[in-house]
Structure formats: structure tokens, C-alpha cells
Amino acid sequence: MQLTDKLIVLADAAKYDASCASSGAPKRSSKGQKGLGATNGNGICHSFTPDGRCVALLKILMTNFCLYDCQYCINRRSSNVPRARFSVDEIVRLTLDFYRRNLISGLFLSSGIIRSNDYTMEALVRVARTLRVEHHFRGYIHLKTIPDASPDLIRQAGLHADRLSVNVELPTSQSLNRLAPEKSDTTIRHAMSTIRDGLDEATAEPKAPRFSPGGQSTQMIVGADDTDDHTILGNVQSLYSDYRLKRVYYSAFSPIPESPSSVPLIAPPLLREHRLYQADFLIRGYGFHADELLTGPGNLSLDIDPKLAWALNHRELFPIDLDRADMYMIARVPGIGITSARRIETLRRERRIRYADLTRLGCSMKKLAPFITTQDYRPRQAGLERQALLAQMQTSAPAQMALL
């Protein structure tokens, strides 16, 4: 098979993994040195495909041959797809060539399970080692970890990779048992603990060998089973606290060819995925607890974002006075992000806040209007009930109906 053909097969096989982050790596430079590549902690999106997703890394599988039969996966062994396998040299050549042309900032390598877990994991590690040791490659490397691989191989992976990830795949262990019979929640979590321990060691001991400085992340597929957002966010919250995760990625399930009857054949739930990312962000960055965003079973509202939904359910806390309120509360106002909240706090040390300041800070005025007061502004809607206020806020342009 030609290299181009392999690339088509193995990029197609890898694109269902949502992560494309190239951030969080330590500062590295190749200035005047043998080798290639630099990282400085920031990610770079080198291109965007028409699905709106960024291309930051060369995201490929080493091979899409796979012994597992995960129902949601295009590469499951019962799937009738063309199969291919890259050699180590081919991956190295592609990575370096694309990198020199400034098309990517590194490599995101994953693989189907061939022969055995350790055999597969070792092959992935060999690619990373070849890039780092033989070619002095200092760009970003993200390795997908095979959950059942031995801890020793995971440690070797952490030596070369900037980020490691193990996918939890599905929101609950019941769904995993049903749709991915060869995988187990226990071993997945075991691998995540091994990575967490490696991260802890590297932080605690300055002389410890380098270990995945960009941390670990995971991905869960949304919409392949019928788990609701309440359960998802609850599980995500404990994932963050148990495994020192940098990120949980949500991947709306895209229907696959020859779809098995166990998974839906419908368009990917993109808006739901978007709301989950928003809720996730509120949990990570704003100190929200999953239970605050969804108090009972069910899904996040698709009409309004989770922060606005929360604020509408807590009218008794608003409006707040921007000259007095805690920064923590200011950041909870819909339409005011954490950066703006910080800026408001700095500005009010100089003088009192005026309504027009918020426009200049780039806040979303329509959203924040009912929830704040300033010395020159008081919301007219203060007395409105939740429903009436919601109706008033939703008088935006009617959405165009989808074609077909």
C-alpha cells in the first residue's frame, strides 16, 4: 500500500478522537541545535477543516487492525473497513516533514490493539522514542495509552510524551460492558491511576525522570448510549478529582458505516456536546459543582447555556452589586467571564464601576443585564419571574430551519 493510501486510512480511523490539544508542554527550543521543534506551553491550530475542528497535530493510528469489537468504533474487528499499518519510519518521516512545513505542531498517535496490549503499547513507545532520541524532535507528542499495557511501558511512554491519555470511552461501566465487551472500567481506571502516580512522582521529586509534563486527559463518547448529562457530569467531576485530569473530551457519536444495531444511526448530537463542554468548563474554571448545574436526572438545556440556566434558577441571589460582590460571584454572572471578573475587580480599586465599562470589557450585555447593578444602572427586569425573563431573553432572531 502506498504511503498516501495508508495516511488516508489511518487518519480517517483516528479522527473520532476529539482531542487536538498541543498545549501544556514545557519550554523547549531547537535554536541552533541539532534536531527540530519547540514547545512553549501554548497550543497552535495550524489549520481548520470544514467541520470547524482544528488541525494541530498529525492525528493518526499506527494501525487500524484491531482485535477488539467495540460497537461504537469504526475499527472494530467486525467492521468491513480497509486496514493498514504504518512502519515506525513512515510515521517519523511524516511527522518531521509536516512539522518542517509548519503544518503541525506534533504527533498524536494511537492504535488498534494488535497481537497483545504490551506489543501494541511498545510499538507506540518506539515511535516516540525514535522521534525524541534519534531525531531530537522537540515538538509535541501525545500518546494514547493502551489500558491493559504494563505499568512499565506506561512509564516509558511518559518519558517521551508531553501528554498521555486513556479513554474512558463511555460514561458508565454498564455501557462499557454492553458496547465494549473486551474493555473493562477497572483496567481503564487502573491505567489512569498509573499515569496519575507518575505525574505525582514527577511533581514531588525534582530529580524524578520526566513524566508527561502536559498531564493526562480522557475522552468519552456522548450519544452512543442513553446515559443522561446528570450522570455524565457527576462521573466527570469525580474523574477530575481522582486522576488529576487536564481535560475530559466529549465526542458526539458520529454514525459509522455498517452500523451495528446496538448504536444509534443518527446525526451526531453536536449541540449537546457543546453544552457538555460549557458545563465542564464551569466545573473546571468557575468552581461550579456538577449538582449545581443539574440538580436531578436529565440533560442540560439545549436552548440556553448552563450558566444562564443556573442563574435563572437562582434569582434570589441576584442582582448583585458589582462594586461590592465577591469575584467568585461576579464570575457566576451570565455574560461575565473569569477574565472580565478579574478586570472588574482591578478597575474597582481605582474607581466605581459604571455600566458602560462592561461594554468596553466585552461582556455579553444582553445576558448580564438582569443580574447586576452598578452605581448608574439597575435592572428593569428585577421583578420578573424566571419564565418571563427567559422568554424576554430569548427574543433573538428566530433560528433558520435546517434544510431537508
Binding site: D12, K15, G32, A38, S47, T49, L67, P82, N102, A267
Partner: protein
């Protein structure tokens, strides 16, 4: 009230800073200064010979933190359009207000601070653009030309981002030699050192650049294969793509030739499945489990 005209011979931040120091120590208010640089022609009310008054008995002076200084310098890299305020006048008004004790002048909620913030953001965004969307073209080694760069690129930035680009790419490219050409200047790097060359008059053009390139033939096939295959037609979302990658950059990106085709193909049927349609028609292969049961 007399008007003082200051000529920015080198339109750079250090030059402005010297001027600003002298103006503050002479307590010249922003309204009394005309900044002349680049394209701005003469002003009727300005006499170009006006000397600055001697330092005032109560001179103003200002100590800025490193961070504040960096912020001002970054804002000075913004190229205003013709209806926007001259960058040096804006900067001077801000430091004047700061010197008078108006600490808010540099904060994003302030009238001037908001403009600074907007310019800093635009410059940083453009730095990010050149880091991301610039494309190097590898050059075949030419006999007898040892000094020809191995990689060359053309880019048309909206603001002054050459230095930021130079520092970024020298970290990335190791000992490779490269050349980045933009209308306002070129970064030349031999793999150890870099410097910026400015056009002798006017601007560099694509016509200056093109004769330097010698494209390798299969150069882009692999990248195009990857781009089309990593695209998921079931998630078509043009708006986000265009918002994140403004079309002014497409012209010099190889993937431009694929974009419209991928979109229309996804609209007309491929949208249901995520798989690349080139693969759908190909013979596939299911995998039998090995005879020995696995544990």
C-alpha cells in the same frame, strides 16, 4: 498654546519612549503634540521646527512595570487604519494620564485602556496567525548556491509581527536555514542567526518572492490526503472554520483547493457518516480472532 511636532524617524517603540520621556519632563500635554510618522503628511497648524520647551520645574516622570511596558510596546505594533488614532498619540495620552495619577488609563474598562486592550489583542492574534498559518516550502538544494535558504514562505500580516515570528521560528527550525518574506520586511535566518531586511523602497511583493521559490513536485500530496481524511463530514460546521481561519489566509495555504469541494460533498449526502467517502467504496477487511482464546 503652541504645537510641537515630533517626527518618528524610526517608527519604533524605543524612539517613542525617548520622546515621551522628554515631553513628560517638560509637561507637554497630549493636545500640544503632533506625532508624524509613516504616511501622515504635514499638518497645517504644525511648525516642524518647534523646539520642545525646557524641562519643567515640576517635571512629570513615570515608572512602569515590565508588564505595563510590554503592553504598551505590543499596542505600538498595531497598524491603525486611516480613521483610527495614530498609535504614538494614543500611547502618549495613556502615559500622560498615568503620570497624573489616573491609574485606570491602562485598564481594559477605561476609554483609552479599552483601545489599548483591543490593539494588544489584535496584535497577539496576528502573531498567533503567522505562527499557525504560515507555510514553509522546502527548496531543493541548488548547485552553486550554498546560501540559498532550505525553506521559504510568504505571509501578509496585518500588524507588525516580524520579530515575534522570528523568535518563534528560530526555536522551531533548529539548524535549518529559512526565509520569510512579507510586504514590509523579510526575516532571513541561516540556522544560527536571524535578521530582518526591509525593502529599499515601497514594499516587497509576491513578484519579488516567487522567483525565489522552486517547488518540489509532490510537495503537498500527503498533506492534502491527510487534511481531507481527518475531516469529519458528519460534523460539517463551516462557520466555525471560517471564524477560526479567516479566508484572507487561504490564498497561501495548500488546503485551499480542497475546502469548497469537501463542503459541497458533505452537504450532498456524505454528511450522514463520518467516514471519508474515498474509503467507503474500497474493499474492507474484518478480522478473525486468533484461534487461541485470549485473556
Amino acid at each position: 498654546m503652541s504645537m510641537y511636532t515630533l517626527h518618528m524617524t524610526q517608527a519604533d517603540f524605543a524612539c517613542w519612549r525617548d520622546h515621551a520621556r522628554r515631553l513628560l519632563s517638560a509637561r507637554v500635554s497630549p493636545g500640544e503634540v503632533l506625532w508624524q510618522s509613516e504616511a501622515s503628511a504635514g499638518d497645517l497648524f504644525a511648525s516642524s521646527e518647534t523646539d520642545l520647551p525646557p524641562p519643567s520645574e515640576t517635571p512629570l516622570a513615570l515608572k512602569l512595570s515590565k508588564q505595563e511596558l510590554r503592553r504598551l510596546e505590543c499596542a505600538s505594533h498595531y497598524w491603525p487604519s486611516h480613521h483610527q488614532e495614530c498609535r504614538w498619540a494614543l500611547l502618549y495620552r495613556v502615559v500622560w494620564r498615568l503620570a497624573l495619577g489616573e491609574g485606570e488609563a491602562l485598564l481594559a474598562g477605561d476609554r483609552d485602556g479599552a483601545v489599548i486592550e483591543q490593539r494588544v489583542k489584535a496584535v497577539n492574534h496576528e502573531v498567533h496567525h503567522i505562527h499557525a498559518f504560515l507555510r514553509f516550502h522546502p527548496q531543493p538544494a541548488r548547485a552553486g548556491e550554498q546560501h540559498a535558504p532550505e525553506f521559504i514562505a510568504w505571509f501578509e500580516p496585518r500588524h507588525d509581527v516580524l520579530e515575534a515570528a522570528a523568535r518563534h521560528f528560530i526555536d522551531r527550525m533548529g539548524q535549518h536555514s529559512w526565509l520569510i518574506m512579507t510586504p514590509e520586511g523579510a526575516i532571513v535566518c541561516d540556522g544560527r542567526q536571524w535578521h530582518i531586511e526591509r525593502p529599499e523602497s515601497g514594499a516587497f511583493t509576491l513578484q519579488n518572492y516567487q522567483p525565489l521559490t522552486e517547488m518540489a513536485e509532490d510537495a503537498e500530496d500527503l498533506w492534502l490526503a491527510y487534511y481531507a481524511s481527518t475531516f469529519n463530514p458528519a460534523r460539517l460546521n463551516e462557520k466555525t472554520m471560517v471564524r477560526s481561519m479567516p479566508s484572507r489566509f487561504w490564498r497561501h495555504m495548500p488546503e485551499r483547493v480542497l475546502i469548497t469541494g469537501l463542503i459541497s460533498h458533505a452537504r450532498h449526502g456524505a454528511q450522514q457518516l463520518g467516514q471519508d467517502s474515498r474509503l467507503a467504496t474500497r474493499r474492507g477487511r474484518t478480522i478473525a480472532l486468533p484461534a487461541k482464546p485470549r485473556h
